[in-house]
Every structure is written in C-alpha cells, then in structure tokens.
C-alpha cells in the first residue's frame, strides 16, 4: 500500500482533531520519521487543528510530502480557516498569551516542535499556518 504524497481534510468538529492526528501520524511515519519526531509533528497538528475548531469553527488541513526541488525530504502541513483572524501575531506567538479559550501554548509550542512555522492572518478574513519538519 502506498500513501499518496498529499491530501487534505476538513476540520469541523472535535472528532476531526483525532482524525487529523491519525492522518499526520501515518504520513510522518510513512516518510520515515522516528517516533519522537512523529510525536512532535502529531502534537503540533493536534494543537493547530484544535485552534481551527476553537477559534474559527471550521477549516482545512492540507498535508504534503516535500521530496522534490529541495535537497531534504520533509513534511508540510497547512492549516487554513476563514475565522476571525489574529490581530496581533507577535502577541499570539508569546507563550501563555491566549485570547480566551486556550492555554496559549498552541502557536509558540508548535513552533518549538517543528523546524518551520509561518503564519499569515488578516483580521476578519482568516488564518493560515504552515509548518514543516525535515527528515534528517
């Protein structure tokens, strides 16, 4: 059985968070990440899908295996929603800062667990978070 190189899934309820974790676990293990890196990637995905569910209500998680053009192979996950957006990204990246519903660990924590994290957000339009981890 071969896993495809990319895919996407809708995040709209709590159970989708579990499904996202399962999908990311399969993709990351399939690519050859070790158990600790798989756990890091799955945990970041859990935090970021929960952010979508908590703050935007619904959104999409896209995943992609990066094996072209770059000397390294890796995994890229994109979390996109059309929720309220983040007014102050710098503030949102501060550990412990939360606009109310969470612990304030999701964004700064995910950044520490991954190799790359990029956020694009427009207040009132939505948020896109892209994370990457490279295979070493």
């Amino acid at each position: 059985m071969t896993t495809p190189n990319d895919g996407e899934m809708t995040i709209g309820n709590e159970n989708d968070i579990v499904m996202a974790r399962k999908t990311v676990r399969e993709v990351a293990s399939g690519l050859g990440f070790g158990v600790t890196d798989v756990t890091r990637i799955v945990t970041a995905a859990s935090e970021l899908t929960r952010n979508i569910y908590l703050y935007a209500g619904s959104g999409v998680m896209r995943w992609r295996i990066i094996n072209d053009s770059h000397p390294l192979r890796g995994v890229e996950l994109i979390f996109e929603d059309h929720g309220p957006g983040i007014a102050d990204i710098e503030q949102a990246m501060q550990p412990g800062y939360t606009s109310g519903k969470g612990l304030g660990m999701g964004l700064p924590g995910s950044k520490r667990l991954m190799d790359e994290l990029e956020i694009h957000s427009v207040a009132g339009e939505g948020t896109t978070v892209k994370i990457r981890k490279w295979l070493r």
């Binding site: 579990v18 676990r25 756990t39 945990t43 935090e47 929960r50 924590g109």
Partner: protein
C-alpha cells in the same frame, strides 16, 4: 469513530484508570467525570492514571489531567501519572505544557508503591 469508554478499576483504596491510546476530547472529559464519581463512591485515597499507551499529549489533555489531579486532591486523594513514553515526555516539555505538581512514576507498579508510601506518610484516615 467509536469513543472508548473509560473503565475505573478499584484496587484496595486506589483507583486505576488506563487512558486509551488516542483519546478524543469527549473521552478525556468523560475520564475526569468517571474518576471523580468513582472517588466519591469508593471513598478512594489515590488515583493512578496509566498513560503508557498514550501516543500524543496535547494542551487540552494536559490541562484536563492537571485539573483532574487538583480535583482529586480536593477530595483528599493523591494522583500519580504512570508510564509516560519517552517521545511524549520530550514533546510535552518542548510544547511548554506544565503538569503542575502531579506525581509521576515510570510504570503502574511503581506508581502503586509511590502512592502506598505517600499515603502511609499521611497516616491512615
């Protein structure tokens, strides 16, 4: 997907709960309620949460477990978190999660020993 029901086992005056490998939020919330109810019914003095099969601990899970330990504490009980995997320990720490003053043990055996010692030190109630 089926939600795993949480079973609370009573061993002497200690409650033993095995957390399923990949619990959803409802299961984690259900765990808290089941544990507190069992504390009341069985007049338990301690709780061992076996997390040896748990593959991912995110902020929601960590918060609920910390809260549960606090609530059990208010009811006069001690909580020990048993069997955290190495990969989970690394991830939990790097994510920045704090498990408060929750006691921990390498496995359930050691957790039971730890609880017995701690409860003896407190004196019998």
């Amino acid at each position: 997907m089926a939600i795993g029901t949480i079973s609370v086992i009573k061993v002497r005056d200690i409650l033993l709960v095995t957390v399923p490998p990949d619990p959803d939020d409802d299961t984690v919330t259900d765990l808290q309620e089941s544990v507190l109810r069992a504390m009341e019914i069985h007049e338990a003095r301690g709780l061992v949460l076996d997390i040896s099969t748990v593959e991912t601990i995110d902020s929601f899970f960590a918060r609920t477990v910390t809260e549960t330990a606090k609530m059990v504490g208010l009811m006069g009980g001690l909580t020990v978190l048993a069997g955290m995997r190495a990969s989970v320990a690394v991830t939990t720490t790097q994510l920045g999660l704090k498990l408060g003053k929750t006691l921990t043990a390498l496995d359930v055996d050691r957790a039971m020993d730890l609880l017995e010692t701690k409860l003896e030190m407190r004196g019998s109630s």
